[in-house]
Amino acid sequence: MTAPWSAGEEQQLLPVARSSDVVQVRQMIRTLAQQCRLSLVDQTKFITAASELARNTLVYGGGGTVRAGAVEKGVRRGVAAVFADEGPGIADVELAMTDGWTSGGGLGLGLSGTRRLVDEFDLVTEVGAGTTVTIIKWAR
């Protein structure tokens, strides 16, 4: 997936450099999800997914950024968030997406569990160069 934004859509950018930034990310995503009229359950799922990915960016990626905003595809509207870091990258993506896998500390359901909470999930990673995860939730 390339950048999910269409022309004219504005995004917000937040740094993920410290633990308190994860709280800021949740608040930004909550506001956006409400503006995009996601249902309460979908808001909850999307904010939770963003919280997981922001923590990954911080813990595994060594910090990075989150860019988020409204997206449109045809008649559908939704909210997208892109988590980018320049950390070590993920050597075996298939393994990292397996339920129960973790490279340390976590419960081992980070990425696979997070993917179940969103409508679209895209992961681009390169060893030594970093990881970018894009998620989208469409309003129903």
Partner: protein, 124 residues
């Protein structure tokens, strides 16, 4: 400097009501503070009220499971109360069903749960 969640006591029960979006460090402090307070105040039960929490991610979910396990080892039972329906749905889909965590719908039902003698399943 991170915030600390206050721990209240009602009889032999410690009550924690989480009222704001927790930073990870605050979550870890709460875990340690509760273990300490269970022993210091000879508590038999712990109630964690998450009514105000709009989301529970894997970090907070793991904290709830850890507190339940730790309190059990310290001869106290933990009941999590006030989970929102959307939070329950999200946690299950995330893959975190909190099997070892006792829950009740609200504070009153949670306190009633702790007054009853422990079912064998609660203490295994």
């Amino acid at each position: 400097m991170t915030e600390r969640v206050p721990i209240l006591r009602i009889g032999e029960v410690l009550v924690v009501s989480i009222q704001f979006d927790l930073e990870d460090q605050t979550v870890l402090h709460l875990q340690e503070d509760l273990a300490e307070q269970i022993v210091a105040r000879s508590a038999r039960g712990v109630i964690i009220d998450i009514t105000a929490l709009e989301i529970v991610d894997s970090f907070v979910g793991r904290m709830l499971a850890t507190i339940a396990d730790v309190s059990r080892m310290l001869d106290a039972r933990t009941v999590v109360v006030g989970m929102r329906p959307a939070v329950a749905i999200t946690l299950v889909e995330l893959g975190l069903s909190l099997g070892g965590v006792d829950t009740a719908l609200d504070l009153e039902k949670g306190l009633a749960r702790l007054r009853r003698p422990a079912r064998s399943a609660d203490r295994v």
